[in-house]
Symmetry: C2
Subunit: 283 residues, 2 copies
């Protein structure tokens, strides 16, 4: 097994004695966020169960993960069940569960995924990569909080829409199209060749849009994350250990929830994934 911290976090043991759909894992301190592991790595873990499943058909095209309750430090169980297999697509139902102190199991994550055998077709990119300065000319940010270990797992270089330096409640921009926009270069630290799991985690690296929008650090938590994969293994291999350009923008903030729409391009400008999430916020 690779000793890269991402592979350590992703590590699952098949529990095929129970069912081929069941895998056992352990939370990884290197990925801790304020009150639990970084959500992107949890999403990557359930996708990894699909990737490891002996009956898998094709590669991931869609993943939705819902954060039902906090993941506590320790052991967990992942269920990845192929409920329908067609000629070229396969539908998965996903769950991550833990046991409380008295051994009673509870649901931490729910989710669904679709894998598919992809064939070469007519293709187009209607969301070209924004023209921005290359990664080596953009300063890397240093993690703002030692409490959030996962921030040290990435080399992040914000082009625009960095975390506010002062929490003064001032709007970031008068233009609604820019007010909650972040663009940043990102790669694993230390570098690691891109795969579906790491692409999934990177879809969740953007700090909460409402912090940027309001310059107020209100309590937040992602409740649902969707990733659409537009890349096969070939495009991921082309990306290698290079930087991705990530872009995220809020659309609506209302009564305790906001959404985020995002894109991830390879350095060469290939749109590898599009992503959306819904985030709870307080106040």
């Amino acid at each position: 097994m690779s000793s890269h911290p991402f592979d350590t976090a992703l590590h699952l043991t098949p529990d095929f004695g129970a069912t081929p759909d069941q895998f056992l894992g352990l939370t990884s301190p290197a990925w801790w966020n304020m009150v639990g592991p970084f959500g992107g790595v949890s999403a990557a873990i359930v996708l990894n169960a699909v990737m490891m499943h002996p009956s898998r058909l094709g590669e991931p095209v869609a993943l939705t993960v819902n954060y039902a309750s906090g993941l506590i430090q320790g052991a967990f169980k992942v269920m990845a069940t192929p409920v329908r297999t067609n000629r070229s697509t396969q539908h998965w139902v996903l769950a991550l569960r833990q046991a409380d102190a008295s051994g009673v199991e509870f649901v931490v994550l729910t989710g669904t995924a679709i894998t598919a055998v992809r064939r070469e077709t007519w293709s187009a990119n209607d969301m070209p990569m924004p023209e921005v300065a290359p990664p080596d000319s953009v300063a890397r940010i240093t993690p703002f909080s030692k409490a959030a270990a996962w921030l040290q797992r990435y080399d992040m270089r914000p082009v625009t829409g960095a975390l506010p330096s002062t929490w003064d409640g001032g709007a970031s921009s008068d233009d609604p199209q820019l007010a909650s926009l972040t663009q940043l270069w990102i790669r694993d630290e230390p570098p690691r060749a891109l795969d579906f799991a790491s692409l999934t985690a990177m879809a969740d690296v953007f700090f909460p849009r409402i912090w940027l929008r309001r310059s107020v650090r209100v309590p937040v938590g992602t409740v649902s994350l969707t990733v659409y994969f537009h890349s096969g293994v070939e495009q991921l291999a082309e990306s290698g250990t290079g930087y991705l350009l990530g872009q995220a923008r809020g659309q609506a903030f209302r009564n305790g929830f906001f959404d985020q729409a995002g894109q991830l391009w390879s350095t060469a400008g290939t749109l590898l994934a599009t992503t959306h999430q819904l985030v709870y916020y307080k106040e």
Copy 2:
């Protein structure tokens, strides 16, 4: 029961003798598309099971539905299971199943939903409604296919990006930001007061982006649909039977799948829902 065709399609009978999570329904010919019912109404049906569930907490904030196999004419069963209930949010696992000729059940839809008790908070709209001509100054389109009965269930008025009139394989625009863009006014026909179910269905009314993009009618099918609800019952009530402005745009088209990102605003400009889908295409 209302005799509106949407309410007919939505009608479910609780099968509480089995479990409070189970509901029985029947496909509705008025909503037929080429090879099965309009996908938007299927998504609305599973959401309706959540709405009818005796243990529901709050209102929908997120819904994901995956189209695993074709819905055949006749009876179906919907399962809506609240797998985790927190103080203000509730997580649902959804499925729609049918039995084949020999009585064997198969999965038609998988899905997840989140409901939540929403409270008034700071709010903002970073995706303002585009400035377009009002609905009464835009011509209503007449359905292009009698085979697709569901098209007659909507009053649709395309502002831009209407279905191509010639299928000549020509690109709709040289500008990638516009090439797969549709904006249209829409409401139920006959008019019906907006609710979460009808808003869900309207999130799926856009014809396939690839038809607009290429002016070629390649075979297509939605595989996954997500709707984020930014509106409570109050905003829906304000919208009443008025038109919504819908906007949809493709981002990536590659090797058999494309995605669509969309928004639905009330006539007054409130962003009621944002939506995304992944669509299979051939060639």
